[in-house]
Amino acid sequence: MNDMTQTNLERALKIVGSRPARPDGVDKVTGRALFGADKSLPNMLVGRVLRSPYAHAKIISIDTSKAEELKGVKAIVTSTDFEDFPSEFVPNGEMVVNMKDITRNVMAREKALYVGHTVAAVAATSEDIAEQALALIDVTYEVLPHVLEVEDAEKPGAPLLHDDMITIGIEPAPESASNVAKRVEFGFGDVEKGFSEADLIIEREFTTQQVHQGYIEPHACLASVSEDGQAELWCTTQGPFVVRNFCSKLLGFNAAQIRVTASEIGGGFGGKTVVYLEPLALALSRKSCRPVKMEMNRAEVFTSSGPTSGAKIWVKIGVKNNGQITAGDCVLKYQAGAFQGAPVGPGAMCAFAPYDLKNVRAVGYDIVVNRPKVAAYRAPGGPISEYGVESVIDEIAIKIGMDPIDLRLKNAAKEGTIAPYGPKLGPIGMIETLEAAKSHPHYSAPLGPNQARGVASGFWFNIGGETSSSITINEDGTVGLTLGTPDIGGSRASMAMMASEELGVPMELIKPIIGDTNSLGFNFLTGGSRATFSTGTTVVESTREAIEELKKRAALLWEVSLDQVEWFEGHARLISGDEPKTMSLAQIAKQAGKTGGPIMANCSMNVTGAGPSLGTHIVDVEVDEETGQVSIIRYTAIQDAGKAIHPAYVEGQMQGGAVQGIGWALNEEYIYNEKGELENTGFLDYRIPVCSDVPMIDTVIVEVPNPNHPYGVRGVGETPIIPPLAAISNAVSRATNKRFDELPLSPPKVLAKLMHG
């Protein structure tokens, strides 16, 4: 990989860094683009899901006989139609998954573990008939006591979700089962000694609520299994290869039997990285030998997909009067939902990662509760832990009378810092984003009455992973790119731009498509901010390989040795010779048939060397002290992108992440009643920010190149959701002179704090 960095960073870039139109733009503004629910097949059935009405219940029996007799019902599946697995953890991006749990989450087996847990599924000739059939399925439950909050779930005597769950990570291992799946710890140094050296210690507990990714497109898929067992699956997903692997395991298919084609994806943010409907639709189609289409409605998306954790966290930071942090300590307790796998590991790893600390410890607990199993959500785990740490940092700044940016600068992580989770950091942009924040006009702008300004930083690792893509040179000189990571926010454009930059041909001549699972080697999903970094790396590598081939063909045509040919601005060029000689890519491509056949190249690798991305956000809020309403008056997001391939889409990530964070901070929360039923299953009461809730989101892209990418790219998608939580809480705290330690900062909660302290 190192040889790929070459001289790119010094070379004058023509395409990378510009803002061309995205290749799929016209499809998406005309309604032509096909999303998960937009495809149909002849003879198609409609699939619907029977879901548990109970938060926790033993399934005694399921009788589907009456439903099967209903005219128009073609297939019914229950847990007996899916394989069972022993417990085994496998990484899935920034999360860890366990097939034993996945099969139970896809279809409840022994117990239903949350309201909305799938119990059976039906395929019928119409939606009405499918709904009638669901009503005819007779499930006998034994209702069990349930538990929703981590502080209740960890108590001795709490209702146990899994009788055999022995906490991992505690020595010696506990003898009895509990709802605490796992304990993790990161850090080094001696925190007690660090605290003893501090002039000031701040210690505080924080609460955050469960929130959902809130993608506008509900989960949807269309499965078609033929009589000979060949399966086609069309679905909205961040990772068609991941879907293929999950589904083939769950259904006992081999990988080649299932071809997964990713539809256009209407938002994911981590929520479309696991499977829900897809194995059901395949199982129903296998039984009926007819195509089966399934869509979740909005309420099902909220009750039965994978939101992220609510949490209880405790943070303690010690500091010298000069702002030097002497120790940082935190304990994080995250809801996992019904099965273990809360993102508490990454939460603990990055809690203190923006800082260069000598003594640091982060302990995390992964706790199961009767809520839907959490899935990844944009920097999974990071916003929660960093909200706590960044809030305490702000409180320290006030107490010691130091500017909050100066306090962060004094302790900022930099190249060579040992990260709290172990490794030595390469070049990172914490200092650069803080300095950009400090010199931004926003930071010194005057504030109005009842207004205050908050600041917070955020750290996220980003990932690489298995990636495969290919490039074909067409006979007319145009270029095809086949990519394996779905385009959620403009990645076709950035891939075509990198290929264009390398080849020296206009981007309009390059056509990127997202391949299906039979067209490329395994691709890990679009997630972990990895697409532009990882897929981009393979695109650059395969393009360079294609260029080598193009040079070879030119050498053949010119009857010179390869070393006599160089590539320059879309042309092969003879290095030495009596007169300058060039041959365009199109001319070479036209003669490819007689120089050895079609020209294509591919690159498949496990991409490593992702660069962490740091961000610092500034927010001005206004608090109505009579009603507790918080308005966002001004917002600036600053982030290290390494290198922005298409700056408009980098800004878009920063703006979108910031506004998701604003929602998390101000109004979004899962609200359960005493029966364990989710009360706000629609966008009316699950309050994501609307257009009139937010101002323009100013952006500053800082570029501290990642040496492990040919153009210096760092992932940018996840970091921007981290700082808003603390930045807003800090601003509200400063506006009211009360320290807020609970999200969301909804009007009733803010007013209650103002009234009662």
Binding site: L684, V690, S692, A752
Partner: protein, 284 residues
């Protein structure tokens, strides 16, 4: 599910008398209830072609607003907006631009939600509604319609044909405010509609404050005349208003707000709407 489009009020009433019949105006509540299977009508009676039920017009003594007129059309009516800015504020808050294109005053009232935005404003403005039934038409004050959440005083076969608002006498102002967590797209946690009239000396001659979402039905505050009539509002009288508003609250705790919060906000919004309405009255 049968779908009928009656051309006269009588046809509509006859259809609505049938078991399982539901009236359809803008559909912004009914279609949600259909989708979520909250109701399963045997018949939907689309009343939008009944004469007089669509449109807004000035009458000899005030205004006629057809019960099925989309809010977006009412908001575009300049002279009505000038006469009853508070009513317009309220009805323009019923949902998004898209909802405004369909939502109606008749539907907002008959949905019988304690949180309906237009209802407190219409009550404070002393609006009435014309109810059409099989044998007669009747006129009722708006506060008589909603009897409990989801329940109205309409009899079988009756529907609301339209609303009457008086021409505001000189020196009248109204205002509506609601508290929602976001800036748009929410159901009122508390709503307050206030109408006041003043004489040439800016002394209050009449006052009506109606609160929504703080009790099973909208509540008209009692006892304000003694405090405000013949005077300009001052700190003392406004504090009394706040106390009366808070005391009138019999709210529920739900996903949208606590009892304590709703009670506190009832006072705040009463005060704020009075201030706006009084300002408008003195400039009217």
């Amino acid at each position: 599910m049968n779908y009928v489009v009656p051309k006269t009020a009588l046809e509509a009433s006859k259809a609505l008398v049938q078991e399982g019949a539901f009236a359809l105006a803008g559909g912004t509540d009914l279609l949600v209830k259909l989708k979520t299977k909250f109701v399963s009508p045997s018949m939907v009676v689309d009343i939008k072609q009944v004469p007089k039920i669509m449109g807004i017009e000035a009458t000899a003594d005030g205004w006629w607003i057809g019960a099925a007129t989309p809010c977006a059309e009412i908001v575009e009516h300049e002279s009505f907006c000038k006469d009853w800015p508070g009513v317009v504020e309220a009805l323009s808050l019923i949902g998004s631009t898209q909802i405004q294109g369909r939502a109606t005053l008749g539907g907002n009232l008959c949905n019988a939600s304690p949180a309906a935005d237009s209802v407190p404003a219409l009550i404070s403005a002393r609006g009435t509604c014309i109810i059409s039934g099989q044998s007669r038409e009747r006129e009722e004050p708006i506060e008589k319609i909603v009897t409990s959440p989801g329940v109205t005083a309409l009899e079988k076969g009756e529907f609301i044909l339209g609303f009457k608002l008086p021409k505001p006498q000189s020196g009248t102002g109204d205002a509506y405010l609601r508290l929602i967590p976001r800036s748009e797209m929410d159901i009122a946690v508390v709503g307050a509609g206030t109408t006041v009239s003043v004489d040439k000396n800016k002394k209050i001659t009449s006052i009506r404050v109606c609160l929504g979402a703080i009790a099973p039905t909208q509540i008209v505050l009692d006892g304000l005349e003694d405090i405000f009539i013949g005077k300009e509002p001052d700190e003392n009288s406004i504090n009394k208003l706040v106390s009366i508003a808070e005391a009138a609250c019999k709210p529920i705790k739900d996903k949208r707000g606590t009892i304590e919060y709703r009670t506190k906000i009832a006072g705040v919004l009463s005060k704020r709407t009075l201030t706006i309405a009084y300002e408008r009255a003195t400039n009217h």
